[in-house]
């Protein structure tokens, strides 16, 4: 036994999925525990208060702060409209008058004696949270949101871009090793989540976006194609907020890597189903992985616990995830316990594996991940 890289990614044909749907600020929850909700049902709503705009009354009227406050014609809590006279002063026996008008519509929230400034809070903006997946409200967090529970298939990717989307899952290629190219995509894919195999190129992504596909799920992408699609480079692996028409989820990595057979076969079995996807990824503490969720019709009486199966043993099927054998599949043949020096000079725990081409190689254990046979 030993340690393989464990991204902890779930690929499950049937599991209980709970999604927390939370408002950014406290607000109103619109559903009750037990309610059936669709992915696009609004479950909670709030108003995000507008920002406060400062009107520098003292400076505008050329007065000391205390004098400016004395000249005010509004008090805290008053509603004001743009153009309304805020403060007025008369001088020279009332012959000359200077006035200060508010350029903003909103509510007077702050009157500062120290500065002679008045803060006007702009009108609030409504924010809604949807259920995201078809399911049942399992829990209500008072004033904050809900937990939606569903039974369904769950596939977690390793990296994604773009936010939450819903669509019908459609296979774009027939094998896990095939590339999703522009030729595979047509207007019939409008609103769909298209599954490719080993990867998608830039033209394919642009075609998917142009026909109105909601998402693309593939094994890998060449980095320059991703940058081309986004229009900018990605520095830190915190994604999900990109302004892109089609969410992209990678199940394996960068370059050209066939989608794991188990993942591909599971997605194929879900063809035609409504799925919810999210490309949001955060590869740091509090990790977030992109996901594809396909709610299923009936939950069996007993749901098998999802087994990670992350124990390395003789015969375990692995994929090498680093050069010089990057992307190659194989089977573990030896697990020597002692530390071994590899070519780079690093002294590490290794394994021996027979790769799919027949050759036997030595690989650091940290550089493989376990895949289903």
């Amino acid at each position: 036994m030993g340690t393989a890289y464990t991204p902890g990614l779930k690929v499950s044909p049937g599991t209980v999925i709970r999604k927390q749907r939370r408002l950014p600020l406290k607000g109103k929850v619109l559903v009750d525990v037990g309610d059936r909700v669709a992915a696009d049902t609004v479950v909670a709503r709030t108003d995000i208060p507008g920002i406060i705009q400062t009107v520098k009354v003292a400076e505008i009227l050329g007065l000391e702060p205390q004098e400016a406050i004395a000249a005010l014609q509004v008090k805290e809590g008053d509603e004001v409209v743009a153009g309304q006279v805020f403060a007025e002063t008369k001088s020279f026996f009332g012959l000359f008058k200077s006035e200060c008008k508010t350029p903003f519509t909103g509510t007077v929230e702050l009157i500062s004696n120290a500065t002679g400034h008045v803060g006007v809070r702009l009108p609030s903006k409504p924010v809604e949270v949807t259920a995201y997946v078809n399911g049942v409200v399992a829990e209500v967090m008072e004033d904050e949101g809900v937990v939606v529970e569903t039974y369904g298939a769950l596939v977690q990717g390793i990296f994604g871009v773009g936010g939450e989307r819903m669509g019908k899952l459609t296979m774009g290629v027939s094998s896990a090793g095939a590339m999703l190219t522009a030729d595979c995509i047509s207007s019939e894919h409008a609103g769909a989540v298209i599954v490719g195999g080993a990867g998608v190129d830039l033209a394919g992504l642009r075609k998917a976006a142009s026909v109105g596909a909601q998402g693309v799920v593939v094994g890998a992408i060449v980095d320059t194609d991703l940058v081309g699609y986004l229009g900018h480079d990605i520095g830190v692996a915190i994604t999900g907020h990109e302004d892109i028409p089609t969410t992209l989820i990678l199940t394996e990595g960068f370059g050209s890597i066939a989608m794991a057979a188990r993942t591909f076969d599971l997605l194929k079995s879900l063809e035609g189903r409504d799925v919810s996807i999210n490309g949001a990824t955060q590869i740091r503490a509090g990790v977030i992985r992109p996901e594809i969720i396909a709610p299923l019709d009936a939950k069996p009486d007993q749901v098998a616990e999802w087994a990670q199966g992350q124990i390395l043993d003789i015969g375990t099927h692995i994929r090498v995830i680093r050069e010089p054998y990057f992307g190659r599949l194989g089977e573990v043949t030896k697990l020597p316990p002692e530390l071994v020096e590899v070519e780079s000079g690093a002294v590490v725990r290794i394994l021996e594996a027979q790769l799919d081409g027949g050759e036997t190689v030595v690989v650091p254990r940290a550089n493989v991940e376990i895949i289903e046979g």
Binding site: K26, S112, I158, D223, G235, A285, G286
Partner: protein, 593 residues
Amino acid sequence: MADINSILATDCGSTTTKAILIEKQGDEYRLVVRGEAPTTVEAPFDDVTVGVVNAVREVEELAGRRILDDAGHIIIRDAEGADGVDMYLSTSSAGGGLQMTVAGVVKAMSAESAERAALGAGAIIIDVIAVDDGRKDYEKVKRIRELRPDMILCSGGTDGGTVKHLVELAEMLVSADPKPRLGIGLRLPVIYAGNKDAREPVKEVLDDRVDLRIVDNLRPTLDRENLDPAREAIHELFLQHVMQQAPGYGKLSDWVSSGIMSTPNAVGKIIQTVAEQMRINVLAADIGGATTDVFSVFEGTYNRTVSANLGMSYSICNVLAEAGTSGIARWAPFDVDEAGLRNTLRNKMIRPTTIPQSLRDLRIEQAVSREALRLAFEHHKTLARSLKGVQTVRTVGEIMDQKETGATLVDLMNLDMIIGSGGVLSHAPRRTEAAYMMLDAYQPEGVTMLAVDSIFMMPQLGVLSTVQPEAAAQVFERDCLIKLGSVIAPVGKMKPGEIACSVNIDGAVHNVPFGSLKLVPLSVGEVREVTIRPGGKMDVGAGRGRELTTKIEGGAVGVIIDCRGRPLALPDSAPARIEKLREWHAALGLEVE
């Protein structure tokens, strides 16, 4: 406190949790064994203590004795106990660190002092707001809202100075109505460390709206900084608010014998101790997966910066974005396919715990590290500087040197030691590689000692130094600090091939031509007095063209005479550059691929 004979200390990094066991052997404390395991703050574990237990289990196996009880808890032994340890300590940087916004009145003065205070307390600065930062009020308000910092440090005005601007800053915070990143419904902690005369009016504006703490002014007069009260308040709030939110920290807090310390704080502590005890100027870097921290002590002034998005795994693609593929490829002693390089680095980002198997892959990773270290150092130089706005009486010499207030404190010619820490330096398969990376990234000038943290344990020793300073000092000196050897690097430029410096070591004269490197064997602990004769107008510390008699010391690598010139210029054309890099690798006894 009873006799402390056995100490266990862990550091929970963003990628790896490291555990060390220190024991008293005779009269001195020594490192016994070290274990490590992946950090477990994410699914499926969501509990930092799982990684701690895994790392301690490795320590148990290697030390051949029991430290964990059957329930997987660390045994703190009583007087007669054979199992367990006498003390358990921990540091942590997992959980995303402390993210702060700092605000001040004048960007180059109070806001900059606030920035230094926050960085020194171990924070990552996500925005610096100042009355004169050029942004409109509504833009600042929008920014505060979007960023959702863990806390805000508000400063400005010397004591007795402006009140109005501070009230304006407070009003702006009210406008933004900021919410903390963690914990919906909680009030955002705000530390006020500005003009004491503005405390009451600021309190009036902020008191009911945020969790306000008032501490002494961090810039009471223009020529004085008083950063410690603000730093202490930050640290206290960090422990109360932020660390508690990270999965498993509550449990870990119950296990430790003394408070959990943030990793950068702990490293800063040990660096300051080294500088003080050895009376030297020190520069240190801790390059991690997500961030690179840089610490310096020049003439007793301590500075720390964190480059939050420069690191070797999670943040590796940010190094790529900042340096560009050509910036990284320029350090590789072979042709690099740029598209392939991008894919390789992206794959490292998404699978951060993989390690280089081939020599070529290692050279690429070390090329990235040079850029990460260099960029973080550039950042450090801009913040580690003298106070701006201070009126000083300058000598004619200083005027000629164009020294001014606000100049960087980092003076490479007067730097005595560079200490490298973090996986890529501490675990470099060959110590020469660590020296070479630091040489390229920092380009030390004159005579400088290079050192590494042997197995990456400065954080643990930092926290230990707060409770057992003697044990920390002994282990640091004997087991942690590995001296690699002195570097002699003349500053200036000459024609290639001309002798840039001559050094007589043990009767052998080493004439090193410009554009080349030479490694002279000299073992650990060997000290020699040498006379260095610079060629032409080169400067080794005594002035241009002047010879210098000084002491040099050997180390795990030896003495490196670096006559590649300062600033180091690589040939523009790829074939010429590769040829030069291969020559330098060979001079240091390193293979290329």
